[in-house]
């Protein structure tokens, strides 16, 4: 497989992409065979590809998660670049396409299903039914609550990793991960609302890292 390396030169210039076996061996060497087998066979949904979701998806792709289902309805906007993992070249593209491209550069054998759709009560039961682990990475409080409620109500075998409270410049150590129940994890400080606070990459990434780490722990503890 070859990727065009536009970053290195303006001319057609192709990078040789490692084979699947080479990439798998490198991950296995880092993580151990048993853990990598679990990561490679895992399937995770990331709902919302903004400051949380773009960071979560990249962290999971780097860990060698086998399959990512990405959902967003939005396009990359200039106001996203302060905290979301997109670049100037992605402006105007659907976030699903932009993130798929970024992941292909980092983890070319990660199977990415990217769906440009607005998730709602009506389509969540069907669109998220294949993913045993669901990351809530929306930005509006009502939408977060809708997704968490809908997933827990309609998908009895799914685990949800959600986020609440990562705005502002509060201390990093206020961001925590709490296991609310067998099926719900909550990351964030629980209080810092975007209403009245700005979002900063450094703090949003902390919360996204908590979510990605919770996902890896859930997979590591699975059989």
């Amino acid at each position: 497989m070859c990727l065009k390396s536009s970053a290195l030169s303006g001319e057609a210039d192709f990078l040789k992409v490692p084979t699947y076996d080479e990439m798998y061996s490198a991950l296995e060497e880092r993580h151990g065979a048993e853990l990598q087998r679990k990561f490679a066979s895992a399937r995770v949904a990331v709902c919302g590809l903004g400051g949380l979701g773009s960071n979560i998806a990249i962290a999971l792709a780097r860990a060698g998660i086998g399959e990512l289902h990405l959902f967003d309805f939005d396009k990359v906007d200039l106001t996203n670049l302060n905290r979301q993992q997109y670049a100037v070249r992605h402006l105007g593209l659907p976030k699903t396409d932009a993130l798929r491209e970024i992941i292909a550069e980092i983890a070319p054998y990660c199977k990415v299903t990217a769906v440009n759709v607005r998730l709602c009560r009506e389509n969540i039961p069907q669109l998220l039914s294949d993913a045993p682990i669901i990351c809530e990475a929306f930005d509006k409080a009502e939408q977060k609550a809708m997704l968490v409620n809908c997933a827990l109500e309609s998908l009895p075998n799914s685990v949800v990793v959600a986020a609440s409270g990562m705005a502002g410049l509060g201390f990093a150590n206020e961001i925590t991960t709490r296991k609310i129940s067998k099926r719900l994890y909550l990351c964030g400080d629980g209080k810092s609302d975007v209403d009245g606070n700005s979002l900063f990459s450094a703090r949003v990434m902390l919360c996204a890292a908590h979510q990605a780490l919770a996902v890896l722990q859930i997979i590591a503890e699975s059989q």
Partner: protein, 64 residues
């Protein structure tokens, strides 16, 4: 007594909707687990907490 987010309250016999209001929560920004099971939003007005129940009201704020 009913344990709500780790604290004990005299909420025996109250519905989830009543407890949400008493704790200052807007029902469209929360998820509620009663003894580790999700309470469907449509049932907030009829599910009643009883002595010994453990309630987690997960409150969402904006940002992502």
């Amino acid at each position: 007594m009913v344990k709500v987010n780790g604290e004990l309250f005299d909420y025996d016999g109250k519905t989830i909707a009543e407890i949400a209001e008493l704790t200052g929560n807007s029902t469209d920004r929360i998820a509620v687990e009663l003894n580790e099971e999700i309470v469907p939003k449509a049932r907030y007005g009829e599910v009643v907490a009883k002595d010994g129940d453990v309630l987690e009201i997960v409150r969402f704020v904006g940002g992502g």
